[in-house]
């Protein structure tokens, strides 16, 4: 190599220390020829990633829609259940009233039968037996508590469905984030293509609107009362005129 190079040396001879500029250029060209396929593959994988982002966004959208329709179905059922619970509640009130009425009638019967029962042990025994029969018992007192618990549970299932609004906002936050990433990737891809470098990339013209207002990506589903207590404290201080 050295010898052949020497044979092409111009009249002044080989500079002392070799051919640094030419060696560097050779090395640079080698690096560039290695980098070009690498850049091509980076571009390819960027294109692939950018292309799959809309699909990911659509999938997130589908999750939101599916969750919403499931929630609507549950709410429909709960509303029907609540209506039935109310109907049952009214029926129980009716039974209680009838039972009270029955007690009054039985008391009147007691008064009528007492003289007969005193003289006839068999009438007395039969009457006592009848008074003990289940048909003469009032509804158990615990039924009201059970019934209230059923109503509260139905209500609480409905309240827990607030999670759907909260997760929808969280998903909207993630969608917004991945859309921003897609746009940044699209810009990088645009810069690979020299011809389009002079005009602004198409995607930047339609950046997503400022999400502030549409959703709260930081929404959280917490049953702990502390967030409400903090808000209450701020509201109270505000109302008292202490805005600190």
């Amino acid at each position: 190599m050295k010898a052949s190079r020497k044979s092409h040396v111009p009249r002044g001879g080989r500079p002392r220390g070799g051919w640094p500029a030419r060696d560097s250029l050779d090395n640079f060209l080698k690096v560039v020829s290695g980098v070009i396929p690498l850049l091509d593959s980076v571009k390819e994988s960027l294109e692939e990633s950018t292309g799959s982002i809309p699909k990911a966004s659509r999938q997130l959208d589908n999750v939101t829609k599916a969750t919403e329709s499931a929630t609507v179905e549950i709410l429909d059922l709960l509303e029907r259940m609540s209506a039935r619970v109310d109907t049952l509640g009214k029926a129980i009130v009716g039974v209680r009233a009838a039972s009270r009425e029955g007690e009054i009638r039985l008391a009147a019967m007691d008064a009528l039968i007492a003289p007969l029962a005193m003289s006839n042990p068999e009438v007395h025994a039969r009457w006592c037996e009848f008074r003990k029969s289940p048909g003469c018992l009032a509804l158990p007192a615990s039924l009201d508590a059970e019934f209230d618990a059923l109503r509260t549970d139905t209500m609480n299932i409905g309240m827990a469905l607030q999670v759907q609004d909260i997760t929808t906002q969280q998903i909207a936050g993630v969608s917004h984030m991945i859309e921003s990433i897609r746009m940044n990737l699209a810009e990088v891809l645009q810069s690979f293509s020299e011809g389009e470098r002079t005009s602004p990339p198409e995607q930047t013209k339609s950046r997503p609107a400022d999400p502030n207002g549409r959703f709260n990506g930081d929404a959280e589903y917490s049953r702990m009362p502390d967030r409400q207590e903090d808000a209450d404290e701020i509201v109270e201080r505000w109302k008292r005129g202490n805005h600190a």
Binding site: L75, D165, Q169, G213, R214, Q228, V235
Partner: protein, 130 residues
Amino acid sequence: MATTKFLIVDDSLTMRRIVINTLKSIGFENVIEAADGKDAMAKLLSEGAEFLITDWNMPEMSGLDLVKWARASEQFADMPILMITTRGNKDDVIEAMKMRVNNYIVKPFTAPGLKEKIDQILKSVGAGAA
């Protein structure tokens, strides 16, 4: 049965139904609804309401902008307004109070919590509680 007419504003159908069901369970049956601030403005102007319960984050027009509009109007300047939102930061609560909401609930809310706030507001504006 309380006759106060409520307007419930939330972009989430689920939330609107939950709030409406809760209101009914505590005795308020007179309720209309809107899906965002713009829709709410139209409903207030066409149908009217005596009590506004609004979400903050909504498309088209946010709850805060709706409150700003209501407070700047002659008709709804003193209307009772309760905000129910996922935004629980101190700055958010203060911003809403600056816009003169009457009270503030952080989602997820509870039925007793909603009742308490409504009763407080109705008491403070001189209307009867449920």
